[in-house]
């Protein structure tokens, strides 16, 4: 804490948490940059639309490539909303308040874009509606579509409900807003006047959502892991895939939240609200979920590695000492073991070091999905023979890479917009926690 609690007056909090809501040059340049990059990537996608999936490096044996790894990553990152808001929130961890909206924003952005990522992997994207017209309930894809949609709706509501009170405050108390924004806030505030009745309804709704969010979030990543685990292929045929994926998702999501915290704190001058304490605590969360993930990694590799059944032996050899060995060990050591060791020390849980560690963890998390998806397909049960070299070994193409980057840009755009036009830190809740009970609404 850099400031004593009683120094927070209502006006100060309001201005601190809303002063970034204005259109400035930095914002325009940043959005311009994102938009142009997105256009370039969409051009790449238009090529794929015209000429088919063949523009990517995927072929008959490695048939799921970066697009699918990307999809898994996006679903994973979206899970953090549930961990921060629901699990930790329901336990009653008060320090979380300024982080919840960041976590929810990340959850909404990644979950919304995950749906688009999977469309980029379809050979016939124009037939997407067939999934609803002819959907067969025994296909895990149907389960995935259902639970991801549910999770997205719940997350959106959970992002919106706490915003109602904030909107009410802003459109009444903040004068220097762009004029076109005010009516939007007024509509979004749904006539909230901070009376106890309204607060009760909202709080109850939020609590219900938080409880519903837990099974929904567990389902989205468990079902996504089943896309692999329901097959009999070595490396996918695993009974711990559900918890393995879920714990890995918490790692990726926590890292994403820490990175976002760091930049919001700096750019929106929130040092008094996102303090060293928050980084320290988030560092502990990241270390804890990484340890859980490490535990599942040991299960996932040690048990088949001990038995070395024929197909498993080939698969594990490629990872441990074969073609994929460099990537595998860099990801496992650099993205999991070293970060855990560092994070044991308080000094590495300060904002800058923990942000850097999180960047490493997040990049490793993406490549971990790559390692889970691709190598398994390079050695199926029967030998790959009489096909061109590019069928035997997967190597992503430039167009494919651009199409893989596009969703990240989209996520950045969504996060930027949400955080630009709404308080990054819940205003109403923060004020309450600082002891300001009722706002004088006229």
């Amino acid at each position: 804490m850099t400031m004593d609690d009683n120094q927070f007056t209502f006006d100060k909090i309001t201005s601190d948490l809303t002063h970034h809501i204005r259109i400035n040059k930095g914002f325009l340049i940043w959005m311009g940059f994102l938009t142009v990059s997105l256009m370039v990537c969409l051009y790449a996608y238009s090529i794929q639309l015209r000429t088919g999936l063949g523009v990517a490096g995927i072929r008959d044996y490695v048939t799921w490539g970066m697009y699918l790894a990307n999809f898994v990553f996006f679903v994973a990152a979206s899970l953090i909303g549930m961990l921060i808001s629901a699990v930790l929130g329901l336990i009653g961890m008060k320090w979380l308040t300024p982080i919840t909206r960041i976590a929810e924003t990340i959850a909404v952005a990644f979950a919304a874009v995950a749906g688009l990522v999977i469309v980029s992997d379809m050979g016939r994207p124009e037939r997407l509606v067939y999934v609803f017209l002819y959907g067969r309930p025994q296909s895990p894809i149907l389960w995935d579509v259902t639970v991801i949609t549910t999770y997205l709706v719940l997350s959106l509501l959970l992002l919106f409900l706490p915003l109602i009170a904030d909107m009410a405050i802003i459109h009444r108390k903040v004068d220097r807003l762009p004029s076109w924004l005010k009516p939007i806030y007024k509509v979004l505030s749904l006539n909230f006047t901070d009376n106890p009745q309204q607060n009760k309804i909202i709080n109850r709704a939020i609590r219900t959502l938080l409880i519903l969010l837990i099974p929904a979030a567990l389902s989205i990543h468990t079902v996504t892991s089943w896309l692999f685990a329901v097959t009999s292929r070595a490396g996918w045929d695993s009974t711990v895939f559900g918890p393995y994926f879920v714990s890995g998702a918490f790692v990726a999501g926590s890292a994403a939240v820490i990175i976002a915290m760091f930049f919001f704190r700096k750019n929106y001058k929130l040092q008094n609200y996102l303090t060293d304490l928050h980084f320290n605590n988030m560092g502990k969360v990241l270390a804890t979920v990484s340890l859980v993930y490490l535990y599942f990694n040991i299960n996932e590799f040690l048990v088949p590695g001990y038995k070395l059944k024929r197909a498993d032996a080939v698969h594990l050899h490629e990872l441990f000492a074969g073609k994929d060995t460099l990537l595998f060990w860099v990801v496992q050591i650099g993205g999991l073991i070293l970060p855990i060791l560092f994070m044991l020390f308080h000094r590495f849980r300060k904002p800058l070091p923990i942000m850097l560690i999180s960047v490493a963890v997040l990049i490793a998390a993406w490549f971990k999905r790559y390692i889970i998806v691709i190598p398994t397909q390079e050695h199926p049960f029967l030998p790959i023979q009489h096909v061109p070299q590019n069928f035997v070994h997967y190597s992503p193409t430039l167009i494919e890479t651009m199409i893989t980057i596009a969703p990240f840009i989209l996520v950045l755009i969504i996060i930027t917009l949400i955080s630009k036009f709404f308080p990054v830190i819940p205003l109403h809740e923060t004020a309450r926690e600082k002891g300001i009970e009722h706002f004088k609404f006229d």
């Binding site: 000429t51 048939t63 379809m122 050979g123 999934v131 894809i141 149907l142 097959t231 061109p388």
Partner: protein, 323 residues
């Protein structure tokens, strides 16, 4: 409300009046419908009489519920589907009463690869696209190498069918697993789920796409192939419908393939045209299935590569050039 002894409150009697009126209207309506129906019946009877300048040629037909009826031949109208619609519906139904099986005698396969080219010609495939591929196998360091033609196993418990989100790939009662490429969304979950790597995908525009454009899609042949959809071995379902053996079976010069019907317990060798008992063939030669431990229940049987009278030749590099 039919208890007349109960005194009625004004409300109730009002109610009853209403309900009487309603009943009246209802009855009137019923009568109206009755009259209309009667009139319609008379009218259609009249029409029927009117066009009774008939052939006099009476046909005896079996109705769907098993009754024999007599109908004038001019009254018979074909209800049959035509064109693509027919191809799709018969392709979903399969050939009644059959359970198709393929038996592959590994002791005879010399890797002539004639099955492959016949198949690729029939199904509009490029050289690197296989419905059937011949693999060079070696099970263990000490065992002898052999050639193994590998088709879709037309599993009776097909993982590819279970995972397909839109029913584009399906199992027919006659045992064949087919693909409807008008339905396939190109998610490739089926490829991931198939343990035999039996499925291929049209990553780029299919071969000779231009010349196949506008043709009726035959789901039993999977031609025209379509960009962004799946293909695989179909047991030549189109040939079976014509009473012929599959393309690969017919094309093999070395007598490797037997094809037939499990219900009849008979399979025919594609080269010698000799028909033998399926059960005896499998029993006498130690027939087996590929990876039965996966529980997929294949419909393809292999006879072990024993007593080969020719040496195993390394396939050289038969790899086709990159398309």
């Amino acid at each position: 409300m039919d208890d007349n002894n109960t005194p009625h409150s004004p409300d109730e009697s009002e109610d009853q009046k209403n309900s009487t009126r309603r009943n009246f209207l209802k009855n009137l309506g019923l009568a109206g419908v009755g009259v209309a129906t009667g009139a319609a019946a008379l009218y259609s009877g009249h029409i029927f009489e009117a066009k009774k300048e008939v052939s006099g040629d009476q046909k005896v037909l079996l109705t769907q519920d098993g009754k024999l009826v007599q109908v004038d031949s001019l009254e018979i109208k074909a209800l049959e589907k035509t064109g693509e619609e027919l191809l799709i519906s018969q392709g979903r139904e399969g050939i009644p009463g059959r359970r198709w099986v393929l038996v592959i005698d590994l002791s005879k396969c010399r890797n002539a690869r004639k099955c492959i080219s016949a198949c690729q010609d029939a199904h509009q495939l490029r050289p690197e696209q296989y419905h059937v591929n011949v693999l060079q196998m070696k099970d263990a360091p000490g065992t002898a190498p052999y050639n193994m033609p590998k088709h879709c196993q037309h599993c009776d418990n097909p993982p590819c069918v279970s995972v397909c989100p839109v029913d584009a790939t399906y199992k027919r009662p006659d045992g064949i697993v087919l693909i409807d490429n008008d339905r396939c969304i190109g998610c490739r979950f089926c490829m991931a789920a198939c343990p035999y790597s039996a499925r291929i995908f049209n990553w780029i525009e299919p071969k000779d796409a231009a010349s196949h454009q506008g043709k009726d899609y035959n789901v039993e042949l999977n031609v025209p192939q379509k960009l962004g959809t799946i293909s695989k071995c179909l047991f030549s379902a189109d040939r079976l419908r014509e009473g012929k053996l599959p393309y690969c079976v017919e094309a093999c010069p070395n007598g490797v393939y037997y094809f037939g019907d499990e219900n009849e317990d008979a399979v025919t060798n594609g080269t010698t045209k000799e028909t033998v008992r399926l059960s005896k063939l499998l029993r006498d030669n130690g027939g087996y299935q590929l990876m039965p431990e996966l529980g997929t229940k294949p419909r393809v049987y292999y006879l072990p590569p024993k007593n080969r009278l020719f040496p195993f030749e390394e396939a050289g590099d038969a790899t086709p050039e990159k398309a």
